[in-house]
């Protein structure tokens, strides 16, 4: 079993990560490791997580995403969560869950814009 769970696309100093897998505990942990390794290896200054394919984000996944973003920040890398499904956003809001340490965007373009403005 590979430890790489997502494809990672490099663009300028940024990493674009389409998440096309079910995020269970094991994959979300692997995702965290893979991201942090790539951020370090590629010296990325921004990472865009495209979650448009993710149809469940629960409290544990939220925790790990926020934790990953905090670790990335400590490595000098900002995190943008992009294209969260409306029903997922609704569910998170109703549960009182806030994604911490991340920026959010509704398109890849605006995600890139956010990162550009941070520099």
């Amino acid at each position: 079993m590979s430890d790489k769970v997502v494809p990672i696309i490099k663009l300028y100093d940024y990493l674009i990560v389409p998440i096309q897998i079910e995020l269970d505990d094991i994959t979300v942990e692997k995702l965290q490791m893979q991201l942090l390794n790539e951020i370090s290896a590629k010296k990325a200054r921004g990472v865009i997580l495209d979650v448009s394919m993710v149809d469940v984000i629960d409290s544990y996944i939220s925790y790990v995403l926020s934790e990953t973003a905090a670790m990335a920040k400590a490595m000098g890398c900002h995190t943008v969560i992009c294209k969260i499904q409306p029903n997922v956003a609704l569910t998170l809001a109703q549960m009182g869950i806030k994604l911490e340490n991340v920026y959010t965007a509704n398109s890849l373009e605006s995600a890139l814009e956010i990162l550009n403005q941070l520099d």
Partner: protein, 151 residues
């Protein structure tokens, strides 16, 4: 398969449920989520409610796996008094139980290291009814329902 379980004089007969899913390992969480999701879709729940239901199953089955190691997720369609259709999700385990149930359903309380402690409180906020029965050393049952909304 008939199983009658008992916690605090509350018994569950798995025979009464349309879906009975064992939670034994990590991979069972994704399966349970998918099965209950399909069941809700098939029974005409809106996409917004299907997302909520899938999230609820995710929270409850993860709690089973994390705190009790094994247990069951059950689901069934019910008819309310007013003719409404309801979907019930029940989580059952024979794990350590919860010492202070009130505290556990208060958002932000957790006994885990890397957690928000927003699972049970979140489930309560997503669903229309919520009941938790727990006895230390015996186990935990969470019963929760959501009404089918018509637009």
């Amino acid at each position: 398969m008939i199983k009658v379980k008992n916690i605090n004089d509350f018994s569950v007969d798995t025979e009464d449920y349309d879906l009975v899913l064992k939670i034994r390992q990590e991979a069972d969480i994704a399966v349970a989520r998918q099965m209950v999701k399909d069941f809700a879709k098939k029974n005409g729940f809106s996409l917004a409610d299907v997302t909520k239901i899938a999230t609820v199953v995710s929270e409850l089955s993860r709690n089973i796996q994390r705190y009790a190691k094994k247990g069951y997720i059950c689901a069934r369609k019910k008819h309310g008094k007013d003719g409404n259709v309801l979907l019930e999700v029940l989580a059952y385990d024979n794990g350590p139980g919860i010492k202070d149930v009130e505290l556990a359903v208060t958002g932000g309380y957790t006994t885990s290291q890397r957690s928000l402690g927003l699972g049970l409180s979140g489930v309560r906020r997503l669903m229309d009814t919520f009941k938790i029965i727990s006895e230390e050393g015996k186990g935990t049952i969470v019963i929760t329902e959501i009404r089918r909304r018509t637009f």
